[in-house]
Amino acid sequence: MARLTEENVRLAREIIGRYPKARSATIPLLHLAQEQDGYVTNEAMSHIGELVGASSAEVFGTASFYEMFKFEPVGKYLINICGTMSCALMGAEELMHHAEERLGIKMGSTTADGKFTLERAECQAACTEAPCLQVNYRYRYRVTPDQLDTLIDDLSAGTLSSEIPAHGVVASVRQHIPADRGVGAVAPETVTENPVWLDGKAAL
């Protein structure tokens, strides 16, 4: 358990194939691992290392830099409340206090039933719709404490499961490059000449 499944290995190889160097696929593969298990396990990181040609320490080195990767289980629903300026000006602090009281946990922790994790987030690029939050990276805009209560009720009742997948699933649509259309990765050592469409003329 926790190494990538056969299906995910197939997907991982497809993703690696798009890049001139396999290491470039590290972050996409970490997302794949997190989608599979809900968080990134040590076994998955060694497996990713094998696939991209890096040590598991190097994979962890990359993974630990990025906020989205979790190395221990988090709630099924990760609620990120933005606390940067625009949201703070419009009442983010109150919203955070309300969330803490409602769920009975502090920011950065998970409810005992494993359903919710609360996090203080930094700017989510929805500044005109402040205060905003994300549940598993799906937005909610201009959230009032009452709306937050309703949201938590709905998530608990499972009525939003079609819109908000469990933690780990980032995009439910994946890119797929058809074999007959794709050019293939252009590695630095493979090409040294002008592209053909320039007809021998330098581009610039």
Partner: protein, 465 residues
């Protein structure tokens, strides 16, 4: 096609202005290939492919399409910095929008992904680029889904891939997703991240990845909005593009205004002409400050920008005027504070952001940013002393000496320098932690003084025998 207009492009207001990049936002199905083709989609690409690549590059240069990411460097000139005769060359699209206050690239990716794709294709054709990587911020699930679906549609229809539209031009566009790190918006950090590493900015020089970028090859890093301008430019020509705006700031700009205004929103404004007063008080824009309150201060260009007060309201959205006035336009993000705002606390939200997002590579930013945050929190909590306020300047000046006008600079013999700052760090995250607290402290000193614990100094004299 579902047709009709979409009531909920969150926060966007079209108004009665030229629309270069937002013309499809009115449609509910603006992100589909069907709608895109019905509204002149991929026409710019077709006309580009019928002309020699260098002509397209000239067109972009003549239009002076300014980079919309923050630095405002003209895109055509940036492409021209690549060394001649070196291949492969890469295009990396910077979709890692995360500057506080900025909300435009996400809209462009969610609402009109094909326009961005067409922009990537035109840029790659013109500059002879070999492969394109579209780096989208990890937290933007919907943008990733919309762009992935659009890429799949465009591949199937022959707009991306081998021999595009039957021409000799071939290009793969690879969707890459980030995982949450503000600093990755810096172009060399973006490249590090794309190579599978920690997203830390590279040492400069080389100043531009155009010379040495992804895998050590010439690389162009362009912002989403910059590339989204290209289809319209190709359809209408450089002359039509420069007819909008001013000579030094042609075209339009996406601007997000947030905070204490009656109607916060995203607007496509005419570059160089629209003033901050228009934006904050204009009927077609934000319609004034909430509850009829007075304006106290505003951040004119994203969280990194020094603040303005009502005195600067009549400045236009023009870099050559905002720069000498002591700030920058940055990424087109205005955050508005009304008279009820607790200024030290507002500054803390930004300084905390930059301290949190420091990658840790440069000591002045890693340590200095955290120091600034701690000192400022202490002051906000009413536990600060006079020495703390002096310390804020001292720490800030060690990150970027003389970057912002400040009294003690004279004492130190440092002259204030305009943008780009003199700084002791590789990238702008360090100075950005200092900018908000510096502005707040110099403009609203009394609010800080009011929270300071006054301590009586006891003079200790040595007892002589």
């Amino acid at each position: 096609m579902t047709g009709g207009t979409w009531k909920h492009a969150p926060g966007f207001y079209a108004g009665d202005r030229p629309q270069v990049v937002t013309s499809r936002f009115q449609y509910e199905d603006s992100y589909t290939l069907e709608r895109y083709l019905a509204t002149d989609g991929y026409k710019g690409l077709r006309s580009a492919l019928a002309r020699p690549a260098n002509e397209i590059h000239d067109e972009v240069k003549n239009a002076t399409v300014l980079g919309r990411g923050g630095a405002g460097f003209p895109a055509g000139n940036k492409w021209g910095l690549m060394p001649q005769g070196v291949w492969p060359r890469y295009l990396v699209v910077n979709g890692d929008e995360s500057e506080p206050g900025t909300y435009k690239d996400r809209l462009l990716m969610e609402r009109d992904p094909h326009q961005l794709i067409e922009g990537c294709l035109i840029a790659s054709y013109a500059a002879g680029l070999s492969q394109c990587f579209l780096y989208i911020r990890g937290e933007m699930a919907l943008a990733q889904e919309r762009v992935a679906a659009a890429l799949n549609e465009a591949y199937a229809a022959g707009y991306i891939g081998k021999n595009i539209l039957g021409s000799k031009f071939s290009l793969d566009i690879v969707l890459h997703w980030g995982a949450g790190a503000y600093v990755v918006g810096e172009e060399t950090a973006l490249i590090e991240s794309l190579e599978g590493n920690r997203g830390m900015p590279r040492l400069k020089p080389p100043y531009f990845p155009a010379a040495n970028g992804l895998y050590g090859q010439p690389t162009i890093v362009n912002n989403v909005e910059t590339l989204a301008n290209l289809p319209w430019l190709l359809n209408n020509g450089a002359a039509a593009y420069t007819a909008i705006g001013t000579a030094t700031s042609p075209g339009t700009r996406m601007v997000a205004v947030s905070g204490h205004v009656n109607r916060p929103g995203v607007f496509e404004i005419i570059n160089g002409i629209t003033t901050f007063r228009d934006l904050l008080y204009g009927d077609e824009f934000c319609q004034g400050i909430r509850n009829g309150n007075d304006l106290k201060a505003f951040v004119p260009g994203g969280g990194s920008a020094p603040w303005f007060t009502p005195d600067q309201l009549d400045l236009p959205f023009e870099a050559s005027q905002v720069g000498p006035a002591g700030s920058m336009l940055g990424s087109g993000a205005i955050m508005v504070m009304d008279s009820t705002t607790d200024i030290p606390r507002a500054a803390l939200t930004l300084t905390r952001f930059y301290a949190h997002e420091s990658c840790g590579k440069c000591t002045p930013c890693r340590e200095g940013g955290t120091w600034l945050e701690r000192i400022l929190s202490r002051v906000v909590d009413g536990k600060g002393t006079d020495a703390d306020l002096d310390q804020i300047f001292e720490v800030g000046e060690s990150i970027c000496p003389g970057a912002f006008p400040h009294a003690s600079n004279e004492k130190l013999g440092i002259a204030a320098v305009p943008f780009p700052y003199r700084m002791n760090t590789i990238c702008f995250v360090g100075p950005s932690a200092y900018a908000p607290v510096h502005s707040a402290l110099t403009l609203f000193r009394s609010e800080f003084d009011a929270r300071i614990v006054k301590r009586t100094m006891i003079k200790v004299t040595a007892v002589s025998e």
